[in-house]
């Protein structure tokens, strides 16, 4: 089998496995996995920019929150139904990533990190400032009645799981397709050596901008999906913490791998979940794990797997 066929088979198998798990998982883990899949979409969006293009952003919460608030505010205050509201969320993410991309791509390296951090911080503060509509830190619950697409009630656990799976599969196959095309290869070339890529005649700036648009829109889709499926929007999702999370998930799972973000999100989610049974200071265990992983598995879990045995992993 060619490498392309192998990787498509592998990823289809992952989706099939997740579909099968829908029928066997106990209720608690069923709900957790739905959550992990939506968050993994966020991580995949982040991975598109960080893992493949090599741009480290510290402000992706801005895109996640754009999607979440674009969706939830139109439902809450304009009374739109969930489907069109979801599109508003996506459009919000697209517009925000275009603006941030055009401005922040004038910088590089550490300056890029700080600029994206600042824009996200301004976004977070804006959510607090317009507390009249967003209810600030407290957030607001999206009513069960408005969480329906084409008559399907998304607050029902099974429907929610399947909707999360559809979103997850879409993001994963988009990523897989992108990294197999010439466009994806140019992104990797930019990550490896920007000057050489420019010298070879590629428009580096345009490629980076497209990567930000793709990454931001995917993150917004995750944000809108999260709000819709779990029925809550709050300022926490716009805070610095939520810009750090996708970075951690991607690094844990393996930057620049298609499955890495999902593996990293799953790993981190259950690490925190399990350790919170033992101790209330669960972030301590998360912190120790982070340090250990950077020391002993810098490629991340999937990245390490690719380095050691499965060389064809995309």
């Amino acid at each position: 089998m060619s490498d392309t066929r192998k990787s498509w088979s592998l990823h289809l198998a992952v989706v099939a496995l997740l579909l099968a798990l829908n029928f066997v998982l106990p209720e608690y883990h069923h709900g957790n996995l739905a959550r992990v899949m939506v968050l993994a979409c966020y991580a995949m969006g982040y991975n598109m920019l960080f893992g493949y293009t090599g741009l480290l952003s510290l402000g992706h919460a801005l895109f996640f929150a754009s999607g979440m608030y674009g969706m939830s505010l139109t439902v809450q205050h304009l009374g739109w139904s969930a489907g069109p509201a979801m599109l508003v969320g996506l459009a919000g993410g697209l517009a925000m990533s275009l603006a941030v991309g055009l401005l922040s791509l004038r910088t590089a390296g550490v300056a890029f990190m700080i600029v994206t951090l600042m824009f996200a911080q301004a976004g977070y503060l804006a959510v607090l400032y317009f507390g009249e509509y967003t209810r600030g830190d407290e957030g607001f619950v999206i009513q069960k009645a408005s969480r329906q697409i084409m008559g399907i009630d998304l607050s029902d656990p099974i429907n929610r799981y399947l909707a999360a799976l559809i979103l997850f599969a879409t993001c994963m196959f988009v990523t897989l397709r992108v990294v197999q095309t010439g466009f994806g290869r140019v992104l990797v070339a930019i990550r490896e050596n920007e000057e050489r890529t420019r010298m070879l005649g590629y428009d580096v700036h345009r490629h980076k901008l497209l990567a930000i648009l793709l990454s931001g829109t995917m993150s917004a889709a995750a944000g809108a999906g999260y709000g819709l499926l779990f029925g809550y929007a709050g300022a926490t999702f716009a805070s610095v913490q939520y810009s750090i999370f996708p970075l951690l998930w991607v690094l844990l799972g393996g930057a620049g791998t298609v499955l890495g973000p999902f593996v990293g999100t799953l790993f981190m989610f259950y690490l925190i979940d399990l350790s919170s049974d033992i101790s209330t200071a669960y972030m301590l265990i998360a912190g120790v794990t982070l340090v250990l992983l950077t020391l002993f598995a810098p490629q991340g879990l999937v990245g390490e797997l690719r380095r050691r045995s499965v060389r064809w992993l995309p």
């Binding site: 700080i114 600029v115 120790v288 794990t289 982070l290 340090v291 950077t294």
Partner: protein
């Protein structure tokens, strides 16, 4: 209401912020400049300094000045030791790779924060200032008999706040001397300019890195000790100062001591002034966007020779 007393009040509060901020940002800037790594856990060293100050001060009975003095002498070196240990155990092993360092220091941030939460607890606790006299500030005005002084109500500061400003100025001078007049400063600047050439000239780069990381953390801890009589010690207190010192380092330019001080003044004072007149949230939105635009359109900062 008259405008002038408000302006002076904003200026004074801003100067205190600027004093503490410049110490902390200088620590970050040194680490950033010499080692080329972003230390996300820098705010936690500030917090550790403040928390240790409370622990140490609570051991002393009698006049609060003794406890505070002991904290001032003991807390920063202790924090520096903690930082050097982190450097040897973690940063050195990942060879100061920029991205891995960020993740490792995020891990450190959580570790330090949670250990503090488990031992010190979630409460905010004050340390009594060694001296705290209320000082009223007179203003000049024209009266019928010529120039006269008057004391507007509420316009004043405390002797401790003034002492913080003076202490910061003295410490900054000390660091300046250390950088320019001592052998250690020379080694540090050589490493900053060109690590490999420095190593070729038998400069122990590894030791310089460890010392700089310790020094940076010690400065943050010192800022924490100085602020704790004004603002209580709490395990989450490191966040805002971390963000502000990033801003200061960016605006001031990489590795430039005068730049750092000017930027700290600018940020501290404008923070004090703006929050007197506008809603604090709006002020912060304007400030963060302002910093982003400075970085985009003036990437080398106000004083730096190199861009980031």
């Amino acid at each position: 209401m008259e405008l002038v007393p408000y302006l002076i009040l904003g200026l004074l509060e801003g100067l205190v912020t600027a004093a503490v901020l410049s110490l902390m940002a200088l620590g970050l800037s040194l680490v950033f400049g010499v080692m080329r790594v972003v230390n996300v856990a820098h705010g936690e060293f500030f917090m550790v300094g403040a928390v240790l100050a409370w622990q140490i001060a609570s051991l002393f009975d009698g006049h609060p000045a003794w406890g505070f003095l002991a904290a001032l002498l003991v807390a920063p070196p202790l924090t520096a030791c903690l930082a050097v240990a982190a450097n040897q155990l973690v940063l050195k092993r990942i060879e100061y790779d920029p991205e891995r360092t960020i993740v490792a220091t995020i891990g450190l941030l959580y570790i330090i924060q949670q250990v503090t939460l488990m031992t010190y607890g979630p409460d905010a606790r004050p340390v009594e200032a060694p001296f705290n006299h209320r000082l009223s500030i007179p203003l000049v005005e024209w009266t019928e008999t010529g120039l006269g002084l008057y004391w507007p109500w509420g316009l004043g500061t405390t002797s401790y706040k003034l002492a913080v400003i003076l202490a910061a100025v003295a410490l900054l001078g000390g660091i300046w001397m250390l950088m320019t007049r001592t052998r250690f400063g020379l080694l540090m600047r050589a490493t900053q300019l060109d690590r490999e050439t420095a190593q070729a000239f038998a400069i122990p780069v590894g030791k310089v890195y460890a010392a700089v990381f310790g020094l940076g953390a010690g400065l943050a801890a010192l800022a924490g000790v100085l602020i704790v009589p004004i603002q209580q010690a709490h395990y989450l207190m490191g966040h805002d100062p971390l963000l502000l010192s990033f801003i200061v380092v960016i605006i001031g330019g990489l590795g430039s001591l005068p730049g750092t001080v000017v930027a700290a003044l600018l940020i501290g004072v404008s923070d004090g002034m703006i929050s007197v007149f506008f809603s604090p949230t709006l002020a912060k939105i304007i400030a963060t966007l302002g910093v982003a635009f400075v970085l985009i359109f003036m990437p080398q900062g106000l004083f730096g020779k190199r861009s980031l």
